[in-house]
Symmetry: C2
Subunit: 216 residues, 2 copies
């Protein structure tokens, strides 16, 4: 694998910002978008359980409806691809079993050899303390995917805008998520900034490094 | 900014895996580690509020103590740098004010010009529905940083292992977080895989793309 120099990584992270104005005329090319979908698929999650589903919304009518429930933020309709991050509302034994079966299939190993792994997951997520906060557990995983997605996008020169300012229940309704056992947690429009988005060139606001990082 | 080709991005994301065996003899060089700390600092968060603090633990005794409360996972003591992601337990008006002051200072603008932004944040996080789940809100932001950190690390050829299998209360105790208004949410050892970590070469387990992504 080809690694990057430190300056290249920092250039990318500094280039990224929460884009306020997307150029509605510019669409992400299909091959680049395919890469970003792969980045979503490859995103890490606890135990590798992938408790999520990603909705890529390009249909104008659906985007107009979503924008109404996104504090009317123009990014929803002006971006190239609007991604909605949804979580599974239930993580149960059947889902864990499905994941174990998938693991056995992908890695060409007998399901029985994964008994220990299944038991560990079940003891933690289904029967342990995390079972009481399983939706929040899933939401946190979705935010890993969000972080991965934004960084991967920046590497490819694609702008994004992480978006919590939306009504999850309305999103669920418009996208028909409840019937699928899913729930919206966050969204992220992706596309290209306009030359006139003044936020693109403002210095990034971060607290002093000493306030954010401590060495022990 | 230099962008990457799709294959370069996917190579990096495929190279990353949850490292089970770190080589205890290999330490991340200071300049590379500095870049990863910058990646943490540059990580996106809602409103840019950075409701977090990152503890970089290299002290062997502290790591031994943390390992006892990390399901005894050897990565905690074998990695080069063990990062603990902590959140602020309180987001209040004073904190929002501090952020607004920092924004004004960094961007060289009068604080008064940020009244609208302060009011928006307050209406949402301090007085809105999100105030009831503010710690979870903060935890989700920390997971964006976790996703950003793991991807940045992989770009630099550094291995990581996201770690939820730990006792947050014990971590808080060992690191003295309660007195600082902080709370552990997740950890991530970083360093270099050993040649013998068999997990490094196993195929990644992901559900079929059609199950994870839907186009609308």
């Amino acid at each position: 694998m080809k690694t990057l120099a430190s300056t290249e990584v920092l250039d990318v992270l500094n280039w990224r910002y929460a884009t306020k104005q997307f150029d509605p005329s510019r669409k992400i090319p299909a091959d680049v978008w395919e890469t970003l979908e792969q980045a979503l698929v490859l995103s890490p999650s606890s135990y590798g359980l992938q408790p999520w589903k990603f909705f890529v919304v390009t249909d104008p009518a659906t985007r107009a409806a979503l924008r109404e429930h996104s504090w009317n933020q123009p990014q929803v309709t002006d971006c190239s691809h609007h991604v909605v991050f949804a979580i599974r509302t239930t993580i149960d034994a059947a889902y864990v079993e499905k994941f174990i079966a998938r693991t056995a299939a992908v890695r060409n190993m007998p399901t029985g050899s994964l008994d220990f792994y299944r038991d560990m997951i079940s003891a933690d997520l289904l029967n342990g303390p995390r079972s009481a906060m399983i939706k929040e557990w899933a939401a946190r995983q979705a935010y890993i995917a969000l972080g991965t997605f934004m960084t991967a996008a920046a590497l490819l020169g694609i702008d994004t805008c992480p978006m919590e300012g939306l009504d999850p229940a309305k999103y669920d309704e418009i996208l028909g998520l409840a019937d699928q056992g899913l729930q919206t947690v966050v969204a992220c429009p992706a596309g290209y900034r306009t030359a006139s988005d003044k936020y693109a060139t403002l210095p990034k606001v971060r607290f002093e490094k000493d306030e954010l990082i401590r060495h022990i």
